[in-house]
């Protein structure tokens, strides 16, 4: 069997206001018209000069620090020369041998296995424009809106050995980029682009010929393309064929890779230092400042949710898969903690009280968020941004359930109304008559009604058909418009039946 070895190259569009080397708006694919956010500089007109965007440097350093990279004290830009219609200057300003960051690493956990992926480098470069060409025509249309967009190019060591490792890395990287506000990293919009270099060899042998695979526009494509390529190369070697050094594109519809062009060697690009941009030196101060501005990373937040809130890893993963959602979750929980400590429900120190109820409370919060709220988002297309329920109201809602003021049926109804109106749960309860009925007399009245009208069901139950109870409970709860506590109703019905049974 063959061992696959895979290295990754990722391009990430940065979320800056302006382009990398000119003051044009950086619209990240959301322009109004072609050739709109452009100027003579990003058009590459003669006599224009680039000037570096300071935000782009900061954003790269932020991501580099999150990936445990070193930032050398000297960095410069270089020209990567080649001709293509979407490259206005005939060269791309990039970084060749002295990039902004080097030697990082990240740990990935897949199925309880941890693997360390080394990050070779991160550097800054400008994006090219867009070439629109319909096959079998003899012309093309050029749109330079995207030309000059700041990119981070991230290169890993060939430390991956499976498609799932690569996909997990890409997903984690996307999440980090979003948490750090470095970019939107939406693959389908081309804001994050992945290329894989794949080779296979017998374990112990030296590395095989590597094939570059491009045009991976989603996480699924990344996984499928790598799996396909591993299979293709394995089959070639098994039939005594050789694997050619080449670039292949991924055809998502056919589910195959196809030959694109032979890979260019570095000397064909004739890299030389960019004369129009002064180098950057003394980066220590900048690095120290950015270190203080670092926010909690997804993996740190995940682990904290597990330890601080006693959530299971899977739930923590879901709640931290969006930074705003994780913030909302924490706000709700902190409201609940504050309530608990002043509620007089328990005695003891604050820590003892919290520790006693914490797991149950956080589990309830997690459940309502990941099940009911997500269901609402999916069905209505709404997002956290448009959510009308404040963290305080959400916490109040959980408290009502926790104290038993609403049963599960009413809770769902209450939640629905909160989602629609954004009003606080107490007012909704009062207005809509949703409070749980615990009044024995009222329940007993309804139970007597139901028992009178459903002799058959009673008989079924007496004959051993235990499920007949559900039917009866449902009827009673229905009579109270869903407000009776089904467990209490059930107990009462059973005891009434037994009581009469004994009596008769």
């Amino acid at each position: 069997m063959f061992l696959p070895t895979i290295g990754l190259e990722v391009h990430i569009q940065l979320k800056t206001n302006t382009k990398l080397f000119c003051g044009c708006k950086n619209s990240l694919g959301m322009e109004e018209k072609p050739n709109f956010n452009v100027c003579p500089i990003c058009f590459g007109h003669p006599g224009t000069l680039p000037v570096l965007n300071n935000s782009a440097v900061d954003l790269l350093i932020k991501l580099a620090l999150a990936l445990n990279c070193d930032v050398p004290n000297f960095t410069k830009f270089d020209r990567k020369n080649y001709f293509y219609p979407d490259l206005p200057k005939g060269y791309q300003i990039s970084q060749y041998d002295q990039p902004l960051a080097i030697n990082g690493h990240i740990s990935l956990t897949i199925n309880n296995q941890t693997t360390k992926i080394r990050i070779t480098r991160l550097h800054l470069e400008e994006d090219a424009g867009k070439l629109l060409h319909e096959s079998h025509t003899d012309y093309a249309l050029i749109d330079l809106n995207r030309a000059g967009t700041p990119l981070i190019e991230l290169v890993t060591e060939p430390d991956f050995h499976s498609a799932i490792e690569v996909k997990t890395f890409c997903q984690e990287l996307q999440l980090m980029v979003r948490y750090l506000h470095v970019g939107y990293a939406n693959m389908e919009k081309g804001q994050m682009r992945c290329e894989a270099n794949i080779s296979i060899a017998k374990p112990g042998d030296k590395l095989g010929t590597k094939v570059e695979v491009k045009n991976l526009n989603s996480f699924k494509a990344v996984e499928r393309a790598i799996e396909y390529e591993i299979k293709r190369q394995s089959e070639a070697l098994e039939s005594d064929e050789t694997v050619i050094l080449e670039t292949r594109g991924w055809d998502d519809t056919k589910g195959t890779t196809y030959h694109q062009r032979k890979k260019e060697e570095a000397h064909d690009y004739r890299y030389f230092p960019e004369p129009d941009l002064p180098p950057l030196t003394d980066l220590k101060e900048k690095v120290e400042r950015i270190k203080t501005e670092m926010c909690e990373l997804p993996i740190q937040r995940r682990e904290r949710f597990v330890s601080e809130y006693e959530l299971d890893y899977k739930t923590a993963y879901i709640l931290t898969s969006d930074k705003k959602l994780s913030g909302y979750t924490e706000n709700v929980i902190s409201e609940l903690k504050a309530w608990l400590l002043t509620s007089g429900l328990e005695e003891g120190t604050t820590e003892e009280m919290w520790n006693k109820h914490k797991k149950k409370i956080t589990k309830s919060v997690a459940n309502w968020l990941t099940v009911e709220l997500f269901k609402f988002f999916n069905e209505s297309g709404a997002t956290l941004e448009s959510l009308k329920i404040t963290a305080e109201d959400f916490a109040e809602f959980i408290i009502l359930i926790y104290k038993g003021n609403v049963n599960s049926t009413s809770a769902k109804k209450l939640f629905e109304i909160m989602l629609k109106t954004g009003r606080d749960p107490h007012h909704i309860l009062e207005e809509n008559d949703l409070t749980q009925i615990d009044d024995s007399a009222e329940i007993d009245k309804h139970i007597a009604e139901v028992i009178n009208m459903n002799a058959t069901a009673i008989q079924d139950y007496k004959n051993g058909k235990v499920n007949a109870i559900h039917f009866l409970v449902g009827k009673v709860v229905g009579l109270t418009k869903g407000r009776a506590n089904p467990d209490i109703v059930r107990e009462k019905i059973i005891s009434k039946i037994n009581h009469e049974h004994v009596a008769s």
């Binding site: 003051g23 044009c24 050739n35 709109f36 452009v38 000037v51 300071n54 003899d138 093309a140 002064p278």
Partner: protein, 99 residues
């Protein structure tokens, strides 16, 4: 060193120039002579000379990432520049292209 026709063709491909056979031979010879001249220059001892990559001596020149610093009005700029192209279609620059 003597340039081969294949090497000339490779450089012509990188330059997007099409050469006829006669031109390829002429360039092979001319490139070889130019490189021979560089070989002569290479005989000078430059071990104590730093390559000149930058002539200003400037470092750390950066621009604030703000739309307010954009001096050109983009509304007309893009349309005007596309207008200056030899061929255009709507707001696109049009070029000959075959894959």
């Amino acid at each position: 060193m003597q340039f081969t026709i294949k090497e000339v063709e490779h450089i012509a491909q990188l330059s997007r120039l099409s050469l006829n056979e006669k031109e390829k031979e002429i360039y092979a010879e001319q490139f070889s002579k130019i490189l021979a001249y560089i070989e002569k220059l290479n005989m000078v001892d430059t071990s104590n000379v730093q390559p000149t990559f930058q002539i200003t001596g400037l470092t750390n020149i950066e621009r604030r990432d703000s739309l307010a610093t954009t001096t050109l009005s983009n509304a007309s700029s893009g349309a005007e520049m596309v207008e200056q192209s030899p061929e255009k279609e709507e707001r696109y620059i049009k070029i000959k292209f075959s894959q």
